[in-house]
Structures are given as C-alpha cells and as structure tokens.
C-alpha cells in the first residue's frame, strides 16, 4: 500500500522526521517546478510525501538523501535550503573546489583516477585525497554515463517507457524492470497474480545467480588468484547460457512486461533447468569451499575495507554490503508481490563488514538463491497476469532486492502517460558507502574494496 500526502514546505522537515521514526528513507526526487518527493518505508507499505514547491533539506535527518538532493538541484534547480554546500553531482564543472571536499595539510596530495580505467571497467572518476598511501577522503564523481533515461521516458505509455528503465543497466535489468512494472501496476490499481509473482521471482533469482558468481570471481581476480577467477567466470558463463536457452537472452532482457506475464517454461525445459541449476549449485559450493579455506585468498580480504554497522545504518547502505555489516535487511522479506513467502535475510558467520564478509555473504546468498529456484521450479510455470480491483492512483512505487541491494522505482502517471519516473537502484544507494569505507584505507586496497561492493555505474548514472 502506498499512502501519498502533500506537505507544505514549512512542515516538510517535521513530517519527514516523523516518517523516519516509523520507517526508513527510500529515496527523494524532484519534478519540474521544482517540486520534491520523498519516499519512506511504512508499516505495510510505502509513504510518499510530496511538496509542490522548494523544500528544505532533510540530509541531516536522513544522510542517505545527500546524493538525491544534489541530483535534484542539478536536474530541476531545487535549492534544498540548509544543505551546505550543495555540491554538483550530475553537472561536471571543471573547477575542483566546486565539487571536491577541501583537504589541506602537510604532505596531503590528490590522486585522480578515471573516468577511463585500466581494465574493462565502467567509466567514473575517483579523486583520492591521500597522505603517503593512506586515503583521507574520496570524492566520487560519476554520471559520465548519464543518458537522461528518466527524462526520455516521460510522455510514453507505461508499457512503452519500460525499455528506458530496463536498459539503464544490463546486470540489473530484471530487478529494475520488475520495480518499474510494480510501480506502474500499483498506479494502475493492478497487482500480480501468484503465477506472475513466481515468474518474476524466478527471473530475479536467475539474475542474482549470475551476478553473485561474477562478483566472487572478480574478487579472485582482484587478489590475483587466477584459478578461482577462471572457475567462477566459467560458472557465470554456464548460468548465462542457461538464461539464453530458457529466455533467449544472456541477460534475460525482455522477460518482464507491465501488467502482464512475459516469461513461461514448459515442463521439459523446466525439468532440464532444475537439473542444471542443481549441478551449478554443487559446483559453486565446491568452488566456494576452496576459496573459503584458501589462506592466501582470505588473508588478503580479512580486516580490509570495513564498513561498521553504525555507518551502514547511518548512510542507508543496502543489499549484500549492508547485510555483511550486520544490517539484516532484505526487501525479499517484505515483498508480497513476489513469491518470497518465509524468506529470511542471509548473514555471514561474522558480520564485521570487511571484504571477506561481503564475499562470504554473496556465497551464502548464491546457495540460498539456487535452493529457492529449485523450489520455485517445482511446478509448471504458465506466465501469469495481473488482477485488477485496487484503486488507481497517480503515483506508484515498486521495491525489489537487486543483486546489489534495494532498488526503488517511483512512477507518476498523468493522462495515462508517464509524467515522471525515478529509479533509485541499490548501486545509487551504496556509492556514498564506498567512499566512506575507503577513508582510512590504503590506496592500493581501493580496487579490491570497490570490487567487494561491485556497484554498477550505469545503474547510478541512468
């Protein structure tokens, strides 16, 4: 359930403060005007607050809103009084002092990296402020890949605007599409039937499987352990070949639609998929055991890049990174629109928030996902559809646990067309946590720290 309330600017901060007492900050975005929207979790759903004029900042109440407000300023000129300094985020002025935090002192210097990196990596710029090899502060400048997808989606019918969200990021295409579809359906007064819920859950978990396999392999590459990297790269390839066979696409593109089912499996294919996923589960578990008890790998990961539980709570960290820091939060435990009944959030043995914990958590979740897929595939899958009956609204919100964390999509409809769509992915939530984690660490450890979060740039930049 989504409750929408219009708030006066002078009551904005007080209302947000009260909303934070009973729920979490889920995102903030602006509209032409400028108007401001803030989303919070609430018992049994989402609370959407809207202000039709400039609103004061809430960054002191919800530090996770820092990037959202900076984006709102760059996109729609929203002022957010009290957010000082309101540094540009999407805009890329050339003067360093406009967008970096001033760091001064004896022997402090800057190391600039990117936007083009040394490997096959997405584009983004990191400016490290260091003394010796110790990072004092990191300014992350993304949005080199900003394609204006949200703006381009405006004016289209909900079904036709889907590709703008789906192609924001290949590795999170299913999660982003499902969040968007749910948002549209909520606005249209529809909800997924049990069959559609199961089809979407299967797709979401298949996406998580190849992503987590990729991330474990990437960490092996980061510590120079070629055997682990190649094994997990092979398992990822096998998972993507399964995707290709059952869905016709290695990244499962085109399998989610608005208000209707788009993915079904006949019995023979389903049996074969189940067997192959069982094989994959065995191989992944054997591979992980080798990594878990390989001291030369684990010694490189333990105690590095620790994100404390308090910081994860404060910064609004989501997904595997939050759970590795002991924040047992997973949108899958509160997804009545998907087939996750009885799901419990995973936890590593010791949720100390270091690289080792983040990788262990992915290995645990990978096994959970493959077990869940086995259950979900126990019955034939017809595709499903949606059921009407709920009251249509002009705002809809969808929430999905992507491989990188909670992804929230808000859609505003006007006259049957999308007036505004906003996608706040797990990667977007977590980039400030990467910067916070880097502070105090050694510069040469940063690539590994960054890989342990394994955030998408495309998902954040849109």
């Amino acid at each position: 359930m989504i409750s929408v309330e219009t708030i006066r600017p002078d009551e904005w901060r007080r209302t947000c403060e009260l909303a934070l007492e009973e729920g979490r900050f889920l995102g903030l975005y602006t509209v032409e005007g400028p108007g401001v929207r803030a989303l919070f979790s609430a018992p049994g759903g989402v609370r959407a607050l809207r202000c039709e004029s400039a609103a004061p900042t809430i960054v002191d109440l919800a530090p996770g809103a820092g990037w959202d407000e900076r984006e709102g300023h760059d996109l729609h000129g929203a002022a957010f009084a009290g957010h000082e300094p309101l540094r540009p985020l999407l805009a890329h002025p050339s003067e360093l002092e406009t967008w970096t935090v001033p760091v001064r002192g004896e022997d402090s210097y800057q190391v600039a990296v990117g936007p083009i990196h040394a490997g096959v990596i997405e584009s983004g710029h990191f400016r490290f402020h260091v003394v010796g090899e110790r990072i004092l502060h990191l300014d992350v400048r993304l949005f080199y890949k900003h394609r204006g997808l949200e703006r381009a989606a405006e004016g289209h019918a909900p079904a036709l605007a889907l590709p703008y969200v789906a192609r924001a990021c290949a590795a999170c295409a299913v999660a982003n599409s499902v969040a968007y579809a749910q948002a549209c359906e909520a606005a249209l007064g529809l909800r997924a039937d049990a069959e559609l819920a199961r089809a979407r859950t299967i797709l979401l978990e298949l996406e998580r499987v190849y992503n987590h396999l990729h991330d474990i392999g990437a960490i092996c590459a980061g510590v120079g352990f070629a055997a682990g990297n190649m094994l997990f790269a092979s398992l990822k390839e096998q998972a993507q070949r399964l995707n290709l066979r059952i869905a016709g696409h290695r990244f499962l593109f085109g399998q989610v639609a608005v208000a209707t089912g788009a993915f079904a499996l006949h019995a023979v294919e389903r049996d074969r998929l189940r067997e192959e996923l069982a094989d994959l589960r065995g191989a992944a578990a054997r591979g992980w055991r080798e990594l878990r008890f390989n001291d030369s790998v684990q010694d490189r990961l333990a105690g590095i890049g620790s994100l404390s539980n308090a910081d994860a709570q404060r910064l609004g960290t989501v997904g595997p990174a939050a759970r590795a820091s002991g924040v047992r939060r997973d949108v899958r435990t509160e997804s009545p629109e998907l087939a996750y009944a009885g799901f419990a959030a995973a936890a590593p043995h010791e949720p100390v928030g270091d690289i080792a914990a983040r990788i262990e958590l992915r290995a645990v979740e990978l096994d959970v996902s493959l077990a869940l897929l086995d259950d979900l595939l126990a019955h034939p899958l017809a595709g499903g559809g949606t059921i009407g009956g709920a009251v249509p609204a002009d705002v809809g919100v969808g929430r999905v646990e992507s491989p990188r964390g909670e992804t929230v999509c808000a859609v505003e409809l006007r006259g049957g067309a999308v007036a505004r769509v906003h996608l706040r992915t797990g990667s977007y939530s977590n980039w400030p946590s990467v910067a916070a984690t880097a502070a105090g660490q050694l510069l040469p450890d940063f690539p590994l720290i960054n890989k342990s979060f394994e955030l998408c740039y495309a998902c954040a930049d849109r």
Binding site: A118, V120, E122, K145, R147, A170, H214, E237, R250
Partner: protein, 151 residues
C-alpha cells in the same frame, strides 16, 4: 586449490576451443562511452575458459599508448566524448576503432538527445562493427580474430 585446478582441467577438456593457428597479436583498449554495462560483461567473458581469447594473441591493455584497437561501447554521452577523443589521440598509428554493441553503432539508442554526443561514427572513424545488444562473446571473439587479418 587442487579441486579448482581439477575442475578447470575438466572444463578445458569439455570445451572445444578452435586450435590457435593465426599468427600475430592485437592489443585492445576498452572505453566505456555510456554503455549499460552489458557490453563490458560480454567483453570480460571473452577471457573466460570458454573463449580464452588471450591464447589467440588478443589482450586487453591498460593504456591506449599500448593499444592497436580502441574498443568503444555505449552511445557516447556528452560527458564521455572528450575522454574518448583523448584516449584515441594517445594511441600510436596504425590504430583501429571498433564499435562494440548496438549503442556504439547508433542503433536503437535510448536517452535524451541533449545528453548524447554520438553515435561513435560521427566522432571517430570506425573500422570494426560488432552488432548486438549486447553482442555475445562468440561474436566479439570472431570479429576480433578476423581483425588479426589473413594468416
């Protein structure tokens, strides 16, 4: 460790890779000019044991100074057009430009016109075209191997 190596050896036996007969090598430099990360995943996949492009003399290098081919992904955003030109200018002659994926080729590009500077063809001379959304690793491998030229 033994388990991993045994598993990889078993995989290697099962995967029928073509025998590397071509001579020569190509050094590749990748630039993401605003892709959705799909092309990056697939370009990364050509190094996995199923395709193993390195044994054919193809390698990804860390600097455009060392590169023969500039592999470009994405529709070329306004913010990446500058860094892309800088990378191209840093390459020694002779150099080739490969458009990797439909976005770089200017097909079915999604986004706001004011944020996009592409397609790639309007910015740099394109020599190799690899279509697909994203192109599967075998297509990337085939296109790059063809770029090595006749034996």
């Amino acid at each position: 460790m033994f388990v991993l190596l045994r598993e990889l050896a078993r995989l290697r036996r099962e995967i029928a890779l073509p025998v590397p007969v071509r001579r020569g090598s190509l050094a590749l430099r990748h630039v993401d000019a605003g892709s959705c990360n799909g092309c990056e995943h697939e370009l990364g996949a050509v190094a996995n044991p199923y395709y193993d492009l390195q044994q054919f003399g193809l390698s990804i290098v860390a600097s455009p100074r060392h590169a023969d081919v500039l592999l470009v992904t994405g529709p070329v955003t306004t913010r990446m057009a500058g860094p892309l030109r800088t990378a191209y200018e840093a390459m020694p002659e002779p150099r080739l430009v490969a458009a990797l994926g439909d976005c770089a080729l200017g097909c079915d590009v999604l986004g706001s016109a004011e944020e996009l500077a592409g397609p790639l063809e309007s910015i740099l001379p394109v020599d190799i075209r690899i279509p697909g959304c994203p192109p599967p690793p075998e297509r990337i491998a085939a296109a790059l191997l063809a770029a090595l030229g006749p034996r």
